[in-house]
Point group: C2
Chain length 177, copies 2
DNA sequence: CTCACTATTCTTAGCGT
DNA sequence: AACGCTAAGAATAGTGA
């Protein structure tokens, strides 16, 4: 037992961009997908809420998590967004459209500093999730982008509209009153 | 500057069960939901995959994350599970039914040791996500449960069936060949 | 591909504001 | 409520089997 157990350099920071090496990326996908599902599971248990997650791998293989089930959550989501029950406040429904895709592509091509990374990550969120301060930061980053590329208009828009909705920096936002 | 900045005892372990205190649970929900969405965002960026997440709070308010968008991912998922394109291998589609709900309730009522916790968390996963070893562990935990309660039969079952499917310990499993 | 290990980074529970 | 802080706990990149 002349153990030389020090084979690993431990966890290293990684660049927040698409992992180049195929095999490396596959490993990261497996690990992080598991981590994501575990986090979702804990959220369900600790807070007593319902969660559905759908992930499509690069090979377009679907992976799903659902509590109580994927379908029950999706059905509820569909009903909420399609028929808009007035009995519920529902102030938190918001939808993003094309922008996040654009941003992620930019993110891959040009790796700017922390500022850019932060904005592009936030851009994938439902906008209602952001604080005003975060919106300010994102807005700044987006305005720099605007000169660089053309953002296509959203091709679809779900017909739920009794509340507030607008296009904010190419991002479709909806929140019922 | 007789600074007494040591007001916090730092992070403490918490019991993996529904948080009792309402306000406490609400805070945890906000923080962990943000953490979940961030993890999802990183998964998208690092691995170049598509992800959709839908969360319903206790008050049934929807929160969503989607890349490139919630709808595009959901549409793809619907198409895959409804019409079953044969061009794709699709070995990873699996669906859970009632079991996870039952388990989570048990989890709340009786807090057994690590063994039980581990099994009930895994139970919320799509079964294809588990290794054989994990299935063994879960099976053991479930067999103990069986004597304790009645599991209702799944009330729905999506009609995609060209591959493998079975009921495994009250859990509906599907994987196309 | 899956599993184990571990140094290191990241997340978050508990408080204060 | 939302935001900042901090230390303890949890996740994971790199590595080997």
């Amino acid at each position: 037992m002349t153990s030389k157990k020090k084979g690993s350099s431990g966890r290293q920071r990684i660049r927040m961009a698409k992992i180049e090496k195929e095999s490396h990326r596959q490993v990261a996908f497996s690990k992080r997908r598991a981590g994501l599902f575990k986090k979702a599971s804990e959220l369900c248990t600790l807070c007593g809420v319902e969660v559905a997650i759908i992930v499509f791998s690069l090979a377009k293989k679907p992976f799903s998590f659902g509590h109580p089930s994927v379908y029950s959550v999706l059905d509820r989501y569909r009903n909420n967004t399609s028929f808009q029950q007035q009995s519920q406040p529902m102030e938190n429904t918001a939808t993003r459209s094309e922008l996040s895709l654009v941003l992620s592509q930019v993110e891959e091509e040009k790796k700017k500093g922390e500022e850019m990374r932060k904005a592009s990550e936030m851009a994938k969120w439902s906008v209602d999730e952001m604080s005003l301060l975060q919106l300010q930061e994102m807005r700044y980053a987006l305005e720099e982008l605007r000169n660089t590329m053309v953002v296509p208009p959203p091709s679809y828009m779900n017909p739920m509209s009794t509340g507030f909705s607008c296009i904010y920096n190419s991002s479709y936002v909806h929140a019922s009153s």
